[in-house]
Assembly symmetry: D3
Homo-oligomer: 68 residues x 6
Amino acid sequence: MSLSARNQLKGKVVGLKKGVITAEVVVEIAGGNKVTSIVSLDSVEELGIKEGAEVTAIVKSTDVMILA
Amino acid sequence: MSLSARNQLKGKVVGLKKGVITAEVVVEIAGGNKVTSIVSLDSVEELGIKEGAEVTAIVKSTDVMILA
Amino acid sequence: MSLSARNQLKGKVVGLKKGVITAEVVVEIAGGNKVTSIVSLDSVEELGIKEGAEVTAIVKSTDVMILA
Amino acid sequence: MSLSARNQLKGKVVGLKKGVITAEVVVEIAGGNKVTSIVSLDSVEELGIKEGAEVTAIVKSTDVMILA
Amino acid sequence: MSLSARNQLKGKVVGLKKGVITAEVVVEIAGGNKVTSIVSLDSVEELGIKEGAEVTAIVKSTDVMILA
Amino acid sequence: MSLSARNQLKGKVVGLKKGVITAEVVVEIAGGNKVTSIVSLDSVEELGIKEGAEVTAIVKSTDVMILA
Protein backbone atom coordinates (compact mmCIF):
# COMPACT_ATOMS: atom_id res chain seq x y z
CA MET A 1 0.00 0.00 0.00
CA SER A 2 1.07 3.58 -0.63
CA LEU A 3 0.36 6.85 1.11
CA SER A 4 -0.89 9.93 -0.76
CA ALA A 5 1.57 12.23 1.05
CA ARG A 6 4.03 13.43 -1.62
CA ASN A 7 6.99 13.91 0.69
CA GLN A 8 8.62 10.81 2.09
CA LEU A 9 12.17 11.50 3.23
CA LYS A 10 14.23 8.51 4.42
CA GLY A 11 16.73 8.97 7.19
CA LYS A 12 18.01 8.03 10.61
CA VAL A 13 16.83 9.22 14.03
CA VAL A 14 19.56 11.47 15.49
CA GLY A 15 17.56 13.10 18.28
CA LEU A 16 14.64 12.09 20.48
CA LYS A 17 13.10 14.04 23.36
CA LYS A 18 9.95 12.96 25.23
CA GLY A 19 7.35 15.26 26.80
CA VAL A 20 4.07 14.40 28.54
CA ILE A 21 1.78 14.37 25.47
CA THR A 22 4.16 14.96 22.56
CA ALA A 23 7.69 13.93 21.59
CA GLU A 24 10.25 15.49 19.27
CA VAL A 25 12.04 13.29 16.74
CA VAL A 26 14.97 14.63 14.70
CA VAL A 27 15.73 12.72 11.48
CA GLU A 28 18.90 13.19 9.44
CA ILE A 29 18.08 12.72 5.75
CA ALA A 30 20.20 12.51 2.58
CA GLY A 31 22.48 15.49 1.99
CA GLY A 32 22.87 16.13 5.72
CA ASN A 33 19.57 17.99 6.22
CA LYS A 34 17.79 17.46 9.53
CA VAL A 35 14.02 17.20 9.74
CA THR A 36 12.29 17.80 13.09
CA SER A 37 8.96 16.16 13.81
CA ILE A 38 6.58 16.61 16.74
CA VAL A 39 4.32 13.58 17.15
CA SER A 40 2.36 12.12 20.04
CA LEU A 41 4.38 10.37 22.74
CA ASP A 42 2.06 7.37 22.23
CA SER A 43 3.26 7.04 18.63
CA VAL A 44 6.92 7.10 19.61
CA GLU A 45 6.31 4.36 22.15
CA GLU A 46 4.08 2.15 19.98
CA LEU A 47 6.43 2.39 17.00
CA GLY A 48 9.46 1.84 19.24
CA ILE A 49 11.25 4.86 17.76
CA LYS A 50 14.85 5.06 19.07
CA GLU A 51 18.00 7.01 18.22
CA GLY A 52 19.77 5.33 15.31
CA ALA A 53 16.58 3.79 13.85
CA GLU A 54 15.94 4.00 10.09
CA VAL A 55 12.68 5.93 9.59
CA THR A 56 10.89 8.00 6.95
CA ALA A 57 9.70 11.57 7.62
CA ILE A 58 6.34 12.16 5.93
CA VAL A 59 4.85 15.54 4.99
CA LYS A 60 1.60 16.28 3.08
CA SER A 61 2.32 18.78 0.28
CA THR A 62 -0.35 21.24 1.48
CA ASP A 63 1.82 21.62 4.63
CA VAL A 64 4.90 22.87 2.74
CA MET A 65 5.45 26.62 2.29
CA ILE A 66 7.97 28.32 0.01
CA LEU A 67 10.40 31.09 0.95
CA ALA A 68 11.56 32.77 -2.25
CA MET B 1 14.32 37.89 11.43
CA SER B 2 13.86 34.17 11.84
CA LEU B 3 10.89 31.87 11.49
CA SER B 4 9.89 29.38 14.21
CA ALA B 5 9.36 26.57 11.68
CA ARG B 6 12.10 24.01 12.38
CA ASN B 7 12.38 22.67 8.84
CA GLN B 8 13.92 24.95 6.24
CA LEU B 9 15.21 22.97 3.28
CA LYS B 10 17.12 24.91 0.60
CA GLY B 11 16.81 23.86 -3.01
CA LYS B 12 15.91 24.72 -6.58
CA VAL B 13 12.50 24.73 -8.24
CA VAL B 14 12.39 21.80 -10.70
CA GLY B 15 8.64 21.68 -11.32
CA LEU B 16 5.80 24.20 -11.35
CA LYS B 17 2.16 23.62 -12.28
CA LYS B 18 -0.57 26.25 -11.90
CA GLY B 19 -4.25 25.62 -11.11
CA VAL B 20 -7.08 28.08 -10.52
CA ILE B 21 -6.65 28.61 -6.76
CA THR B 22 -3.54 26.57 -5.92
CA ALA B 23 -0.21 25.79 -7.56
CA GLU B 24 2.23 22.91 -7.14
CA VAL B 25 5.93 23.66 -6.67
CA VAL B 26 8.53 20.87 -6.72
CA VAL B 27 11.85 21.70 -5.05
CA GLU B 28 14.99 19.57 -5.38
CA ILE B 29 16.95 19.73 -2.13
CA ALA B 30 20.40 18.47 -1.06
CA GLY B 31 20.96 14.75 -1.52
CA GLY B 32 18.59 14.62 -4.51
CA ASN B 33 15.33 14.48 -2.55
CA LYS B 34 12.37 16.28 -4.06
CA VAL B 35 9.88 18.17 -1.91
CA THR B 36 6.41 18.95 -3.30
CA SER B 37 4.50 21.98 -2.04
CA ILE B 38 0.94 23.10 -2.73
CA VAL B 39 0.53 26.83 -2.12
CA SER B 40 -1.91 29.45 -3.35
CA LEU B 41 -1.51 30.57 -6.96
CA ASP B 42 -1.40 34.14 -5.62
CA SER B 43 1.78 33.33 -3.66
CA VAL B 44 3.51 31.84 -6.69
CA GLU B 45 2.73 34.96 -8.70
CA GLU B 46 3.59 37.52 -6.02
CA LEU B 47 6.86 35.79 -5.15
CA GLY B 48 7.68 35.33 -8.86
CA ILE B 49 8.45 31.63 -8.34
CA LYS B 50 9.89 30.10 -11.55
CA GLU B 51 11.62 26.87 -12.55
CA GLY B 52 15.30 27.11 -11.70
CA ALA B 53 14.82 29.61 -8.85
CA GLU B 54 16.65 29.07 -5.54
CA VAL B 55 14.01 28.72 -2.82
CA THR B 56 13.57 27.24 0.66
CA ALA B 57 10.85 24.70 1.47
CA ILE B 58 9.45 25.37 4.96
CA VAL B 59 7.59 22.86 7.17
CA LYS B 60 6.35 23.30 10.77
CA SER B 61 7.47 20.34 12.88
CA THR B 62 3.93 19.50 14.03
CA ASP B 63 3.21 18.73 10.33
CA VAL B 64 5.85 15.98 10.06
CA MET B 65 4.86 12.35 10.67
CA ILE B 66 7.17 9.38 11.13
CA LEU B 67 6.96 6.02 9.35
CA ALA B 68 8.98 3.50 11.36
CA MET C 1 6.17 -0.51 8.89
CA SER C 2 3.76 1.70 10.81
CA LEU C 3 2.88 5.37 10.57
CA SER C 4 2.88 7.67 13.62
CA ALA C 5 -0.49 9.24 12.63
CA ARG C 6 -2.95 8.11 15.32
CA ASN C 7 -6.04 8.18 13.13
CA GLN C 8 -6.34 5.50 10.47
CA LEU C 9 -9.94 5.02 9.39
CA LYS C 10 -10.67 2.19 6.95
CA GLY C 11 -13.38 2.61 4.35
CA LYS C 12 -14.43 2.66 0.73
CA VAL C 13 -14.18 5.48 -1.81
CA VAL C 14 -17.71 6.75 -2.50
CA GLY C 15 -16.86 10.02 -4.23
CA LEU C 16 -13.99 11.31 -6.38
CA LYS C 17 -13.68 14.68 -8.10
CA LYS C 18 -10.56 15.87 -9.93
CA GLY C 19 -9.32 19.46 -10.23
CA VAL C 20 -6.16 20.83 -11.84
CA ILE C 21 -3.79 20.54 -8.85
CA THR C 22 -5.91 18.87 -6.18
CA ALA C 23 -8.60 16.16 -6.03
CA GLU C 24 -11.36 15.44 -3.52
CA VAL C 25 -11.81 11.90 -2.25
CA VAL C 26 -14.83 10.94 -0.11
CA VAL C 27 -14.42 7.79 2.00
CA GLU C 28 -17.29 6.03 3.76
CA ILE C 29 -16.01 4.55 7.03
CA ALA C 30 -17.54 2.22 9.64
CA GLY C 31 -20.81 3.47 11.15
CA GLY C 32 -21.75 5.31 7.96
CA ASN C 33 -19.62 8.41 8.55
CA LYS C 34 -18.10 10.02 5.47
CA VAL C 35 -14.60 11.49 5.52
CA THR C 36 -13.60 14.03 2.86
CA SER C 37 -9.97 14.38 1.85
CA ILE C 38 -8.28 16.90 -0.43
CA VAL C 39 -5.00 15.54 -1.79
CA SER C 40 -2.87 16.32 -4.83
CA LEU C 41 -4.21 15.11 -8.17
CA ASP C 42 -0.82 13.43 -8.68
CA SER C 43 -1.43 11.23 -5.63
CA VAL C 44 -4.84 10.13 -6.85
CA GLU C 45 -3.37 9.15 -10.19
CA GLU C 46 -0.23 7.43 -8.88
CA LEU C 47 -2.19 5.46 -6.27
CA GLY C 48 -4.89 4.60 -8.81
CA ILE C 49 -7.65 5.74 -6.44
CA LYS C 50 -11.11 4.91 -7.88
CA GLU C 51 -14.69 4.83 -6.62
CA GLY C 52 -15.30 1.57 -4.78
CA ALA C 53 -11.66 1.07 -3.76
CA GLU C 54 -10.83 0.04 -0.19
CA VAL C 55 -8.63 2.78 1.34
CA THR C 56 -7.65 4.19 4.71
CA ALA C 57 -8.14 7.86 5.63
CA ILE C 58 -5.20 9.09 7.71
CA VAL C 59 -5.19 12.12 10.04
CA LYS C 60 -2.40 13.33 12.37
CA SER C 61 -3.82 13.96 15.86
CA THR C 62 -2.57 17.56 15.97
CA ASP C 63 -4.97 18.22 13.06
CA VAL C 64 -8.11 17.17 15.00
CA MET C 65 -10.15 19.83 16.83
CA ILE C 66 -12.93 19.26 19.37
CA LEU C 67 -16.37 20.87 19.37
CA ALA C 68 -17.85 20.48 22.87
CA MET D 1 -23.75 28.92 12.14
CA SER D 2 -21.81 26.23 10.32
CA LEU D 3 -18.11 25.48 10.01
CA SER D 4 -16.42 24.94 6.62
CA ALA D 5 -14.53 21.86 7.89
CA ARG D 6 -15.99 18.89 5.97
CA ASN D 7 -15.34 16.29 8.65
CA GLN D 8 -17.45 16.47 11.79
CA LEU D 9 -17.52 13.13 13.60
CA LYS D 10 -19.80 12.85 16.63
CA GLY D 11 -18.76 10.69 19.55
CA LYS D 12 -17.98 10.35 23.23
CA VAL D 13 -14.74 11.15 25.07
CA VAL D 14 -13.18 7.84 26.16
CA GLY D 15 -9.70 9.08 27.03
CA LEU D 16 -8.20 12.32 28.31
CA LYS D 17 -4.59 13.02 29.26
CA LYS D 18 -3.25 16.45 30.22
CA GLY D 19 0.25 17.80 29.59
CA VAL D 20 1.71 21.24 30.28
CA ILE D 21 0.76 22.98 27.01
CA THR D 22 -1.27 20.35 25.17
CA ALA D 23 -3.79 17.64 26.04
CA GLU D 24 -4.82 14.43 24.28
CA VAL D 25 -8.51 13.67 23.82
CA VAL D 26 -9.68 10.28 22.52
CA VAL D 27 -13.18 10.22 21.01
CA GLU D 28 -15.08 7.02 20.18
CA ILE D 29 -17.22 7.62 17.09
CA ALA D 30 -19.90 5.57 15.31
CA GLY D 31 -18.79 2.10 14.22
CA GLY D 32 -16.33 1.81 17.12
CA ASN D 33 -13.51 3.85 15.56
CA LYS D 34 -11.44 5.98 17.93
CA VAL D 35 -10.20 9.42 16.93
CA THR D 36 -7.27 10.96 18.82
CA SER D 37 -6.93 14.73 19.05
CA ILE D 38 -4.14 16.88 20.45
CA VAL D 39 -5.40 20.33 21.40
CA SER D 40 -4.18 23.02 23.78
CA LEU D 41 -4.68 22.33 27.49
CA ASP D 42 -6.41 25.73 27.67
CA SER D 43 -9.11 24.49 25.27
CA VAL D 44 -9.76 21.36 27.29
CA GLU D 45 -10.20 23.44 30.42
CA GLU D 46 -12.32 26.23 28.91
CA LEU D 47 -14.62 23.78 27.15
CA GLY D 48 -14.83 21.60 30.27
CA ILE D 49 -13.99 18.45 28.27
CA LYS D 50 -14.34 15.33 30.47
CA GLU D 51 -14.47 11.57 29.94
CA GLY D 52 -17.96 10.55 28.91
CA ALA D 53 -18.84 13.92 27.34
CA GLU D 54 -20.58 14.03 23.95
CA VAL D 55 -18.29 15.93 21.54
CA THR D 56 -17.60 16.27 17.82
CA ALA D 57 -14.14 15.68 16.34
CA ILE D 58 -13.48 18.19 13.54
CA VAL D 59 -10.95 17.79 10.70
CA LYS D 60 -10.35 20.10 7.71
CA SER D 61 -10.29 18.05 4.50
CA THR D 62 -6.85 19.31 3.44
CA ASP D 63 -5.55 17.52 6.57
CA VAL D 64 -6.75 14.06 5.50
CA MET D 65 -4.39 11.75 3.59
CA ILE D 66 -5.26 8.53 1.78
CA LEU D 67 -3.49 5.17 2.10
CA ALA D 68 -4.44 3.05 -0.92
CA MET E 1 -21.25 24.61 21.73
CA SER E 2 -17.68 25.86 21.47
CA LEU E 3 -14.76 24.87 19.28
CA SER E 4 -11.32 24.06 20.73
CA ALA E 5 -9.54 26.16 18.08
CA ARG E 6 -8.01 29.12 19.97
CA ASN E 7 -8.12 31.59 17.09
CA GLN E 8 -11.53 32.86 16.04
CA LEU E 9 -11.26 36.14 14.15
CA LYS E 10 -14.51 37.86 13.21
CA GLY E 11 -14.72 39.81 9.97
CA LYS E 12 -16.35 40.37 6.62
CA VAL E 13 -15.74 38.57 3.32
CA VAL E 14 -13.96 41.01 0.97
CA GLY E 15 -12.78 38.55 -1.67
CA LEU E 16 -14.01 35.23 -3.05
CA LYS E 17 -12.56 33.19 -5.91
CA LYS E 18 -13.79 29.73 -6.91
CA GLY E 19 -11.69 26.91 -8.39
CA VAL E 20 -12.66 23.33 -9.27
CA ILE E 21 -12.02 21.68 -5.88
CA THR E 22 -11.03 24.59 -3.64
CA ALA E 23 -12.05 28.23 -3.19
CA GLU E 24 -10.22 31.21 -1.73
CA VAL E 25 -12.00 33.41 0.81
CA VAL E 26 -10.47 36.72 1.97
CA VAL E 27 -11.79 38.05 5.30
CA GLU E 28 -11.12 41.56 6.59
CA ILE E 29 -10.85 41.46 10.37
CA ALA E 30 -10.59 44.15 13.08
CA GLY E 31 -7.68 46.55 12.65
CA GLY E 32 -7.76 46.22 8.86
CA ASN E 33 -5.85 42.93 8.64
CA LYS E 34 -6.89 40.54 5.87
CA VAL E 35 -6.96 36.79 6.43
CA THR E 36 -6.90 34.47 3.41
CA SER E 37 -8.47 31.01 3.65
CA ILE E 38 -8.45 28.13 1.18
CA VAL E 39 -11.36 25.77 1.81
CA SER E 40 -13.23 23.25 -0.32
CA LEU E 41 -15.56 24.70 -2.96
CA ASP E 42 -18.28 22.45 -1.46
CA SER E 43 -18.01 24.34 1.85
CA VAL E 44 -18.33 27.73 0.20
CA GLU E 45 -21.46 26.59 -1.59
CA GLU E 46 -23.10 24.77 1.34
CA LEU E 47 -22.44 27.66 3.73
CA GLY E 48 -23.56 30.20 1.12
CA ILE E 49 -20.41 32.30 1.61
CA LYS E 50 -20.66 35.57 -0.36
CA GLU E 51 -18.78 38.87 -0.52
CA GLY E 52 -19.97 41.13 2.29
CA ALA E 53 -21.03 38.27 4.59
CA GLU E 54 -20.08 38.38 8.29
CA VAL E 55 -17.92 35.30 9.01
CA THR E 56 -15.30 34.08 11.48
CA ALA E 57 -11.87 32.86 10.37
CA ILE E 58 -10.79 29.90 12.50
CA VAL E 59 -7.20 28.68 13.03
CA LYS E 60 -5.94 25.89 15.33
CA SER E 61 -3.02 27.17 17.42
CA THR E 62 -0.68 24.37 16.27
CA ASP E 63 -1.00 25.90 12.76
CA VAL E 64 0.39 29.31 13.76
CA MET E 65 4.13 30.00 13.36
CA ILE E 66 6.09 32.93 14.77
CA LEU E 67 8.49 35.19 12.87
CA ALA E 68 10.68 36.99 15.42
CA MET F 1 13.00 37.14 0.73
CA SER F 2 9.28 36.53 1.13
CA LEU F 3 7.26 33.64 2.47
CA SER F 4 4.36 32.10 0.52
CA ALA F 5 2.11 32.02 3.62
CA ARG F 6 -0.68 34.53 2.92
CA ASN F 7 -1.36 35.45 6.53
CA GLN F 8 1.28 37.51 8.30
CA LEU F 9 -0.18 39.32 11.31
CA LYS F 10 2.12 41.74 13.16
CA GLY F 11 1.78 42.13 16.89
CA LYS F 12 3.33 41.95 20.32
CA VAL F 13 3.85 38.92 22.58
CA VAL F 14 1.44 39.23 25.53
CA GLY F 15 1.63 35.67 26.85
CA LEU F 16 4.29 32.94 26.91
CA LYS F 17 4.09 29.54 28.60
CA LYS F 18 6.75 26.83 28.24
CA GLY F 19 6.18 23.06 28.28
CA VAL F 20 8.64 20.21 27.77
CA ILE F 21 8.44 19.93 23.96
CA THR F 22 6.12 22.77 22.98
CA ALA F 23 5.46 26.35 24.08
CA GLU F 24 2.42 28.59 23.77
CA VAL F 25 2.88 32.15 22.49
CA VAL F 26 0.00 34.65 22.60
CA VAL F 27 0.31 37.61 20.20
CA GLU F 28 -1.88 40.71 20.34
CA ILE F 29 -2.45 42.01 16.82
CA ALA F 30 -4.07 45.17 15.39
CA GLY F 31 -7.66 45.73 16.46
CA GLY F 32 -7.09 43.99 19.80
CA ASN F 33 -7.42 40.41 18.56
CA LYS F 34 -5.21 37.81 20.22
CA VAL F 35 -3.61 35.00 18.22
CA THR F 36 -2.41 31.89 20.06
CA SER F 37 0.44 29.81 18.62
CA ILE F 38 1.86 26.49 19.73
CA VAL F 39 5.43 26.03 18.50
CA SER F 40 8.36 23.92 19.62
CA LEU F 41 10.11 25.04 22.81
CA ASP F 42 13.36 24.95 20.81
CA SER F 43 12.01 27.68 18.50
CA VAL F 44 11.04 29.92 21.37
CA GLU F 45 14.51 29.61 22.85
CA GLU F 46 16.48 29.99 19.60
CA LEU F 47 14.45 33.01 18.51
CA GLY F 48 14.64 34.51 22.00
CA ILE F 49 10.86 35.09 22.09
CA LYS F 50 9.90 37.10 25.21
CA GLU F 51 6.81 38.92 26.48
CA GLY F 52 6.66 42.37 24.91
CA ALA F 53 8.62 41.40 21.78
CA GLU F 54 7.38 42.55 18.35
CA VAL F 55 6.66 39.42 16.28
CA THR F 56 4.58 38.30 13.30
CA ALA F 57 2.10 35.42 13.52
CA ILE F 58 2.18 33.39 10.30
CA VAL F 59 -0.59 31.08 9.02
CA LYS F 60 -0.76 29.18 5.69
CA SER F 61 -4.13 29.82 4.01
CA THR F 62 -4.95 26.10 3.74
CA ASP F 63 -4.98 26.10 7.59
CA VAL F 64 -7.77 28.70 7.88
CA MET F 65 -11.41 27.54 8.19
CA ILE F 66 -14.53 29.66 7.88
CA LEU F 67 -17.49 29.74 10.29
CA ALA F 68 -20.45 31.29 8.47
